[in-house]
Symmetry: C2
Subunit: 243 residues, 2 copies
DNA sequence: TTGCTTTGCGTCAATTTAACACAAAGTAAT
DNA sequence: ATTACTTTGTGTTAAATTGACGCAAAGCAA
């Protein structure tokens, strides 16, 4: 038994060598919502053969950090925002996906409120990053287009089940804005009146008793999302958040 | 521009060194369904300090394979079955999760029909692997308990949206068996009559015109799942598979 | 004051879901 | 062969949810 253990460990150790060690990068698909369009934050890729193309924002995993920490680090470095929503998407491990050698990447996606961002986002060389409308993205460096598609599919699924969309909206929003958001992300049309009914029935919106101004029509009521009540309801199991 | 590229590449290359390379393992949560219980295939862990505990079945990622290929290899080696359902769960990257050094693991889960398995499954040392009822698993080596929980949560979500459950059932099954399966996996109770109605309405079950035998009561009709029709309907977009 | 645009609400029909009871098919026991 | 027992298989009805739709209200602009 003891011998067995030792053998087993030695087997393991012998495998833990250079040959089976890999560089790991963490790439972030940062979604933002603005002007009724879903956007993704991209940087210029200047690595052959992908010069001139855009790529996701990422970095290599460092020695003592978890992948979650790496994703958080990358995001905070770039956006200067904290407490961002982060979710793992997938691992991309094609041996030839990276021109400089084998790099396995773990993709995350994140949602940010473009209002908060205020154009401060730059890359490592201080070049401005660019928000690109998701629908217009058709070519990216590496396998990043596939990653973006997977992340979007995941976002579409998650946004219906969990109120993550509120991270992408202003703190104060109108029901119409909220509806537009769901219509954009899910790529469907919703009936205004039925949408309102459903959302109000959830009981998770706080009526701020405030209104839009500077609009050439009836101003809309503003709401915020009641994260506290959401947590409570979720814990009790009372919740059926389903858009 | 050219200089920029070179710099950039050098920056990358300098990072692609030993310090930021990691061993990667692929661990499989193999679910099986039998006797109205959901089970997980486990092996004995004889690595200190986890001697005596059970662990998931896994292996190190090899130099030229993708993680999907690694998961498939591991599964086929152990179960001797091919064409198994496989889905990525999550990456587990705590630097101290493995006693022999940093090993980042990617978990997959898979579903197999215990009938097909016929007790042939052995580990690398030819020791019989063990099916353990999910509900009774409360302690595993490494962070494998967390992995099993995550995989189960993922299974619960996916099983409602995609007909993956049929991989875990006999090819010929009764509606009651099917209902029991969903009740077990989702941990809910379903009304027999409403369940039947819903399933029949899907139009994806083939009535085999066969019946159970050797049962001390009215024998149940047997069905099989119409994978062909499912693919068709899915492609046309006619489908609403929602248990 | 009128017209324009967008917000906000209520109703009604259609669909879906939930709850429920009883007959039918077979085996086992007498 | 009759009866008891167990499990399968089906239909009906009320309640809840969803979908479709029209119209009044609020504000700005002309």
């Amino acid at each position: 038994m003891a011998i067995n253990n030792t053998e087993n460990i030695n087997t393991w150790l012998s495998h833990l060598h250079e040959e089976t060690k890999f560089s790991i990068s963490v790439d972030c698909v940062i979604f933002g919502y603005d002007e009724a369009a879903l956007k993704v934050l991209l940087m210029d890729c200047n690595m052959p053969p992908y010069e001139g193309k855009k790529s996701l924002i990422g970095d290599l995993l460092q020695k003592q950090e978890t992948t979650d920490e790496a994703a958080k680090r990358i995001l905070e470095n770039r956006t200067l925002l904290t407490d961002l929503y982060l979710e793992q998407v997938n691992v991309y491990s094609n041996p030839f996906r990276h021109p400089l050698g084998r790099v396995i990447t773990l993709a995350y996606y994140s949602l940010i409120n473009i209002e908060d961002y205020e154009n401060q986002i730059v890359d490592a060389e201080n070049k401005q990053l660019e928000w690109k409308t998701l629908a217009t993205i058709d070519d990216l460096a590496f396998d990043h287009l596939e990653i973006v598609k997977d992340a979007y599919a995941r976002l579409q699924r998650t946004v219906r089940e969990v109120p993550i969309g509120f991270s992408m909206l202003p703190k104060k929003f109108s029901l119409i804005q909220l509806q537009n958001f769901y219509e954009t992300v899910l790529d469907i049309e919703l009936d205004r009146r039925n949408f309102r009914r459903k959302l109000m029935a959830l009981g998770l919106l706080i009526d701020l008793k405030e209104f839009q101004d500077n609009v050439a029509h009836r101003p809309a009521k503003l709401y915020s999302f009641d994260f506290e009540k959401y947590k409570q309801k979720k814990n009790i199991g009372t919740l059926n958040f389903e858009i």
